[in-house]
Symmetry: C2
Subunit: 240 residues, 2 copies
DNA sequence: AGCAAGAATTGATCTAAATCAAAATTTTAA
DNA sequence: TTAAAATTTTGATTTAGATCAATTCTTGCT
């Protein structure tokens, strides 16, 4: 085989990546059928972000949208005086980068090596005109993000430290199930510092509460980042 | 004049209510021009909700969407064990009733006598197909709601009681300015109980903190529901 | 106008989680 | 493989805001 043929083969495979994509069923692109998705593929680009790298910064001009294929991301806001608050964790299938302004309203950072599908904002917005279904699906996803944010407001306004952690684990577990990656253990891709920040607590409180939950056999841990929910069905009771 | 003519006149006026509507400039319908808005008018209905009445309940099937014309609304979630958390206040121009599910994920209640513009969900969704601009504008509004919710997460996660109240007043003040109803005083249409609930505090803490802010001349109050920000530009400093 | 009933304020005490401090464990890198 | 750095856990103490408890102030209502 000559190099050109090999290159063609590579491109061919690349041209079918959407059809084979593991998150297609839950991501916005899933609304398109096999024949239409080829057109979306043509305007998308694969991007890799190693652990700890920033995907964009709060205040940057919005020029690109992303679809998460693999990995996980934290999004956080900084206040004028430097306080930081994580406002969400994003997982495969989530859409990232839309804003109500011309600039991103938060910073996005990869929690582990992460694969994204990248779109130029203008190009994708023009694509909406051709396939309004996509815009509708994205509206759906944004509505879901809003519901998740409102749940987090409830958690921060009304839940105790123990309830916050249990709810957090339930959320991750449910998220994994949606991806077809259900069951125990749950891998926590974020540090204790990130968990504490997200839940409006300190690392000390998180650590102490985890120790309590372990003693009471409600959870079990392997190392520091893999967690078993011993009886998931029973956990909602502990939230009351 | 005979009654029929008078009735016709009334209908005529009614048919122009969108063109004259005070919130058109900021609401989703503002994206349509005078000739198109007549069609939107035809599928909309005026509704009045007296103070304290529910517009819909968490768990109800989503059958109608609303546009707020006048008044204000609180939206809140209830947990299984009866705890309540207000997740937002809505004002003229805001779009209400969309959900990521088949059912509303929160309850909506009028804080004062409130005028809404009502749409059947299915009918409006079909309207999107004819005027995709509208769906795009609503996507914008939902993105804004999401940004507001993320700001509230920051507030609950990182701000002290005093900062929460000051930020709350700034938000209302900015909201009023957007409506062209800027300047002091700000009318608080909600009770101390609602403010406290929304800010993740107790009424006692809200009351005490208000007294402090009054003593320090940062705010001034007329009665219990009208509030002056003595130096609005300076307030962001107190947030650090 | 007067008087309940609810809403808001003020005071005293308590407590969950924060902060300060140190030890143990895990990860990284040489 | 080991040592340094970083992360996590555990302990002692403090504190902002919650809770419990009266008053005071509004606001409908007859």
């Amino acid at each position: 085989m000559e190099p050109v043929a090999s290159c063609t083969t590579r491109n061919k495979n690349n041209n079918h990546r959407c059809a084979q994509c593991s998150v297609r069923l839950i991501a916005f692109c899933g609304i398109l059928d096999d024949s239409d998705i080829i057109q979306l593929e043509a305007i998308s680009k694969n991007k890799s972000f190693p652990k700890g790298t920033n995907i964009f910064f709060q205040g940057d001009q919005v020029k690109t949208f992303f679809n998460i294929k693999q990995g996980s991301i934290k999004i956080y806001k900084l206040s004028h005086d430097g306080r930081k608050q994580i406002v969400g964790f994003l997982y495969p299938g989530d859409f990232l980068g839309m804003s109500d302004q011309e600039v991103y309203t938060y910073t996005a950072e990869a929690l582990e090596d992460t694969q994204l599908c990248q779109f130029n904002k203008i190009v994708l917005e023009n694509f909406f005109l051709k396939f309004p279904k996509i815009e509708n699906k994205i509206l759906n996803l944004v509505n879901h993000e809003l519901a998740v944010a409102q749940d987090q407001i409830f958690l921060l306004g009304k839940y105790s430290a123990r309830e916050r952690l249990l709810q957090f684990f339930l959320n991750i577990s449910n998220q994994r199930e949606k991806l077809g990656w259900g069951g125990n253990p749950i891998r926590l891709s974020m540090s204790r510092t990130d968990i504490a920040n997200y839940l409006g607590l300190t690392i000390e409180t998180v650590s102490r509460t985890l120790s309590e939950l372990k003693n009471e056999q409600i959870i079990r841990m392997i190392g520091t980042h893999d967690i078993f929910l011993n009886n998931k069905k029973q956990i909602p009771q502990y939230l009351n």
